[in-house]
Symmetry: D3
Subunit: 315 residues, 6 copies
Amino acid sequence: MKKAMKIFAGNCNRTLAQKICTYAGVKLGKCEILKFSNDNIKVRILESVRGKDVYIVQSSSPPVNEYFMELLIMIDAIKHAKADHITAVLPYYPYVRSDKKDEPRISITARLIADLLETAGADRVMTMNLHSSQICGFFRVPVDHLLAGRFLCDYYRKQGIDNCVVVAPDAGSAKRAGHYAINLGLPLAILDKRRDGDKEKPMIQHVIGDVKGKRALIFDDEIATGGSILETVKALESLGVTEIQACCVHGVLSGKAIERLKSSSLSKLVVTDTVDIPPGKKMKNMVVISVAQLFAKAILYSHNGTSMSGLFGQM
Amino acid sequence: MKKAMKIFAGNCNRTLAQKICTYAGVKLGKCEILKFSNDNIKVRILESVRGKDVYIVQSSSPPVNEYFMELLIMIDAIKHAKADHITAVLPYYPYVRSDKKDEPRISITARLIADLLETAGADRVMTMNLHSSQICGFFRVPVDHLLAGRFLCDYYRKQGIDNCVVVAPDAGSAKRAGHYAINLGLPLAILDKRRDGDKEKPMIQHVIGDVKGKRALIFDDEIATGGSILETVKALESLGVTEIQACCVHGVLSGKAIERLKSSSLSKLVVTDTVDIPPGKKMKNMVVISVAQLFAKAILYSHNGTSMSGLFGQM
Amino acid sequence: MKKAMKIFAGNCNRTLAQKICTYAGVKLGKCEILKFSNDNIKVRILESVRGKDVYIVQSSSPPVNEYFMELLIMIDAIKHAKADHITAVLPYYPYVRSDKKDEPRISITARLIADLLETAGADRVMTMNLHSSQICGFFRVPVDHLLAGRFLCDYYRKQGIDNCVVVAPDAGSAKRAGHYAINLGLPLAILDKRRDGDKEKPMIQHVIGDVKGKRALIFDDEIATGGSILETVKALESLGVTEIQACCVHGVLSGKAIERLKSSSLSKLVVTDTVDIPPGKKMKNMVVISVAQLFAKAILYSHNGTSMSGLFGQM
Amino acid sequence: MKKAMKIFAGNCNRTLAQKICTYAGVKLGKCEILKFSNDNIKVRILESVRGKDVYIVQSSSPPVNEYFMELLIMIDAIKHAKADHITAVLPYYPYVRSDKKDEPRISITARLIADLLETAGADRVMTMNLHSSQICGFFRVPVDHLLAGRFLCDYYRKQGIDNCVVVAPDAGSAKRAGHYAINLGLPLAILDKRRDGDKEKPMIQHVIGDVKGKRALIFDDEIATGGSILETVKALESLGVTEIQACCVHGVLSGKAIERLKSSSLSKLVVTDTVDIPPGKKMKNMVVISVAQLFAKAILYSHNGTSMSGLFGQM
Amino acid sequence: MKKAMKIFAGNCNRTLAQKICTYAGVKLGKCEILKFSNDNIKVRILESVRGKDVYIVQSSSPPVNEYFMELLIMIDAIKHAKADHITAVLPYYPYVRSDKKDEPRISITARLIADLLETAGADRVMTMNLHSSQICGFFRVPVDHLLAGRFLCDYYRKQGIDNCVVVAPDAGSAKRAGHYAINLGLPLAILDKRRDGDKEKPMIQHVIGDVKGKRALIFDDEIATGGSILETVKALESLGVTEIQACCVHGVLSGKAIERLKSSSLSKLVVTDTVDIPPGKKMKNMVVISVAQLFAKAILYSHNGTSMSGLFGQM
Amino acid sequence: MKKAMKIFAGNCNRTLAQKICTYAGVKLGKCEILKFSNDNIKVRILESVRGKDVYIVQSSSPPVNEYFMELLIMIDAIKHAKADHITAVLPYYPYVRSDKKDEPRISITARLIADLLETAGADRVMTMNLHSSQICGFFRVPVDHLLAGRFLCDYYRKQGIDNCVVVAPDAGSAKRAGHYAINLGLPLAILDKRRDGDKEKPMIQHVIGDVKGKRALIFDDEIATGGSILETVKALESLGVTEIQACCVHGVLSGKAIERLKSSSLSKLVVTDTVDIPPGKKMKNMVVISVAQLFAKAILYSHNGTSMSGLFGQM
């Protein structure tokens, strides 16, 4: 007797969307996303959504602005096609790092993204591991903020964490790293990056904490160019660690990231599939953990009005 | 004693923005638009805009969505930098042809664009020759809708229009063509395009009106792929015209447009510079008429609170 | 288990509303609309609407502003009486021709009407054959835009269309006329109206296309004063047509329209009942086709969440 | 160096608007208000308002809804013509008595009016003697609520108020009458109206207070049909008063009001010109006090940012 | 099959909330309201509200601002916990007397309260006996305005009202008192309070109407400091009444109210429990009539979509 | 020729407001803030603000909710008194620590505060050292986020920082502490707090970094109960530091903070006066650095449209 549910997907990460549908036990909704020769997007929703509870899955990866506009147009089309309720599902939130104004006259673009989603017609948003949890406060519509950290820790516990230390690549990420350290019952170390002058590159002076002779686990919310990870790896090498692994939720892996990571002494890289990892970005020692089941569960709970509390942990 | 004015420009058509500034007698505002390796845009406004009357010039051309997001981010940055008033100046309005819902479950994206501009913080919009003038009604903020038609007619009058006939490529554009015909005091002819069946290509059956032995002038608001112009040219050839010229405000010229137009018997193509025409898109018989002075005038009138009525005519 | 539906009607076209209810199989909701001696309207909704899915039918005819305010007050009363969802059903949309700003400092009143409906509390709008389909974009709430053209063509096909030609009264209506011509498989002709000077009356110079010896069918979205139709009829007479029929969706028939049409050589006038045709406005050769069943169907589909796509065609 | 001011007027009470302009020392702005044969209003603002501080004077009298829509369309036209600030000046506020919901499923139309004014684009509202002062709270934009009571008392003091008593026509108006009594230093009496049963007409049982041998002054915010005044006059006659005068701010005088008042023993009727009193509504013993100077003062104070406090008193 | 209902309560009047739940047959929802040492409130909703129809009961009594912020925070928490619909139930509305602007530059705080409730996320409001019924117009969301007057009259009719007169303490409350007089079929008297000069205390000059030898019943919407009641009692004593009773809906009883009332010759005080009466504020001759059943009924009707009309009368 | 400026102050920290006015060279605006016996606040603005650029200074300290409601009521009163522009100046932002949803069904109250300020009528917000800089993104109106860190460092540099180490009390504050360390050119150490079980008190296991024999400087954005500082002090004592100083922007000092700090081995406490420090909360070794001049400068820059960039640094 409940309103029917439909899940649609943009072009950004259809593999994940397809998996979510499989776990949720529904067919991915049919829609056509065209590109005119003048570079304008045209979206045709090919199934009736009148009165339905609709979920639209669209992650973020290059071309980021293209995919985001695609999502806005999909929401608009579905809203005016008289859907009852629209949830924008953004496994990796676009512009997630533009969450504060630390220079004059810049945009808090993560906030703008929130406003644009609401304007287009999103009644609710579902996303995963925001760079800062304050971003939830950028929305006037309710947000379901899923967290994958507990599941990544589960993976590590299975793999074994003897003699490990959690390493934060800089003071700014000490808080997040601390959560992982507590969950895994491991010690924490922090790299203290400084610049000598204003214009110089960041330089790692020394480590705060004890890493020598240990296996280092670096946790972050995302790995973009890999530059920061690489610096961290080099610093840790010189500090006498026995092995280095890195783990992040969002495998953005932009620019020369893969190249850099391949050439580093990183023994393993663990990521989820919030961002699609095309074959060209795969590495031998890369482990991809799917979050499809988590999203499927969240969508079903949301549709059925079931409490999600206790489902996703603290990080 | 008035509030100072600043003009900024996005990356889409900086040549036009620069010319507008020259005519307006102001320096183009300094800003930096970066692209991170993860494809996120970062905008840094490098001059104070606190309390200023700001104009942001951004046209639309591929990458369309990229440039539009760039504009939204610029508006957001400038709004939160406490500008007094922000006018988004869009010489060619993005998604201008997506102005109605002629299929089920599609987006009236030109309306969505309007909503997004208002959400980002545009207090007013200035644009030129919208595909349909109803689009002004998509905005809750006031719009200055400039029209270049009268100035294009001036060009033609100077060139000579003896023995000419204005040709509308199809019934849908008869109204616009009629305005040009009236302004130039020329007769009008209309091509009657039909499909034999649903899935076939458009096919021009016959002309409504008299073109034989005349010089045909085709007027349109934009030329995109050139497909429609090409069909019209071919039809007119077979109908015995002595010469064919085409004129449009927005030289979108996407896909194979230039290739097609070069290989056609078109003797001249007149466009404005609302859309930047890079060297690779130039043709021998192409005339580009600049609208920079019109925009400069409109911006100064807007800033000074001078009436623009009677400035721009009917088309 | 679904929310109950109620249909109410304002005073503008209660006959149509009553017919819609009959087709929909529901009783017209009871409400009282009073006028105080000071000309203020008072609306009393006489049935509970708490938690209901409510449809309010109100067309537009003189006194136009009176009826529109009546509709706004009904929406307000029903909203604050805690209806779950309100759809304003406007068979003929008020101020539909004020859809663009073709003179300085005028109002796009069709857009203002949209804003006022949303402000009063309309969650959705249902209307028929808008003068321009862009008007749908004036709304932030979803619009169901019904189109009666296909049903009018059905009528003509039944009557016989041998030797007919579709005539557009001017270039501006060539597009709409073209749709009818295509649907009926008939040729198209266009009258080319021009003014000699600024202040003169419109004057029809000549026809574009072939009408001699044919039966002319004039299609339009509405007939208001009949002035344009009359001119067209006179022009066609002088061009040697054998018979002239006119057909429009909205029989506004204001001012001296009926008088004029009666005295013309029009052999038949086909209208729908979106606007009530009181006995005094009836003519011998007038055919009124009811749209009640179409609206009843649309309301039931809307209430039940059934797709309306494919129901109403292109014009 | 300040922004220029413009005053425009709708058709409702142009005499008052013209007087206000004279007192304010500005010319009434030129605009054209047309009515099409289909009863649609068209407003053309004939002077530039770009960047101006605009005041639009429109009162309320039959046809009330017509005049109110006219006002909304004027506001919309002026807003989109880029006025800097728009103040709607409503000497008599429409639907002012519909200020509460004392029956189920009715509209608080005075609140709807407020919302519609804001939606059309009014940045501020100026009005006079609202039926209840809570109506100011219906607006999100600031309201200048002028009060004419003190000036009416000034008139009475000049005329002489020996042996007078202020009479409230019923318990509901005792509060307002009390304010006048205090200002004039006069005693107060209240008529106690009751119905014997539900369906019967109101019946005045008796007076609360002392009126015998006195001159009765009845004060009210408005006189509509005159029914209530007439009943009061009759009751006072039977209670032995020596003379009866009535005074109100808004001379609505609808329906048979003038007829009734003429045939009554009322010795004088004092009204203001917030509502236009056409010659046919004038009576011998009617005194019309103009509020034009008050409004002119308020508009100048508003334009110049001068405090209005202390200008208008308590009633 | 309907959405489940939940009732939560703030700290202001949990006794009433608990009683409402008992009458409604539901358990009071679990939530934790903490106060940090820095005086910040923290609300933890301890039951899932996802997709539920939620009612939050919070009255108003000192600390008024504390309790109101508590309510706003509860609404916010419940909204972002994805409740389907939130009704703020305010048995006694905060700042209810700040409903007009009778001095320059003050706030119509009752309107601000309405705006703040809507901003926090209230979809509907339920309240009782507002000081002026216009306050309903302060809301854009629908309001259920319950009235307890009829039930208080029922109480008096049971107690016997022989030889009684209803007394309004001043002209301003004559209207409300009149309603009670009519419902009870009793005569009405009004005390005429005046000040001799601007700065003096109010002074009761004389009574309008007949009270000598009668039992006086004073009705009001609320009793705050008791000052006004006390003055009225004293005046009535000197006018020869045989007994004085007072009755109000909201027993605010602030400042020295209880002290004053105890020392007066008031023979009985009747109040409801919209405001909690702690033991320290109880008096021997005080009767507290619970409105819990009324609210329970209203909540159930609201949840079930049942009409409330005819349930609550006129005062 | 510019609009005049006015500064008003609520009751929370009038000393600071008074100092700001002195630095800004303007007189503090007159207003009266009353409390009725029923605990309702009444604000009377005693100077005209019509057309003015108004700044309202209100910090946050117990009673927090009282002061915040006071601010909202002041904004509302000033908005409806027709101020041109209102800036809410919040030296210490209320509920600043409620900036994320780290438990199910709680409120991001810092975001709610932003919404309420905008609803009341704040056009802009000025505040200092938000707990997380993302809070700026909670606002749709522009925010001037002042930072006092650079000025606190200036103080320390003057005092001498030989042999000092900056200590972060936990991983979560490592980022902020890192900024201070960089500005002062000092090393950084972090205390690693962990709980043994879920319900136990936080327990400091060990320090990350080198503190032995050094002078420890603890920097934080605020000190509330002092509990965290105390633990840190104790831990540092056991780690062999030679001296401990603490410095924070906001001296909230709630609960037993002063008692605790007095009994600790802290040699100095540096705070600013964003929160008023009453005599009872002063300690011998407390240094209060006034931010009045910073705010005065920011207000003048804001009023004059002068760029603030480069004024306040990074922390």
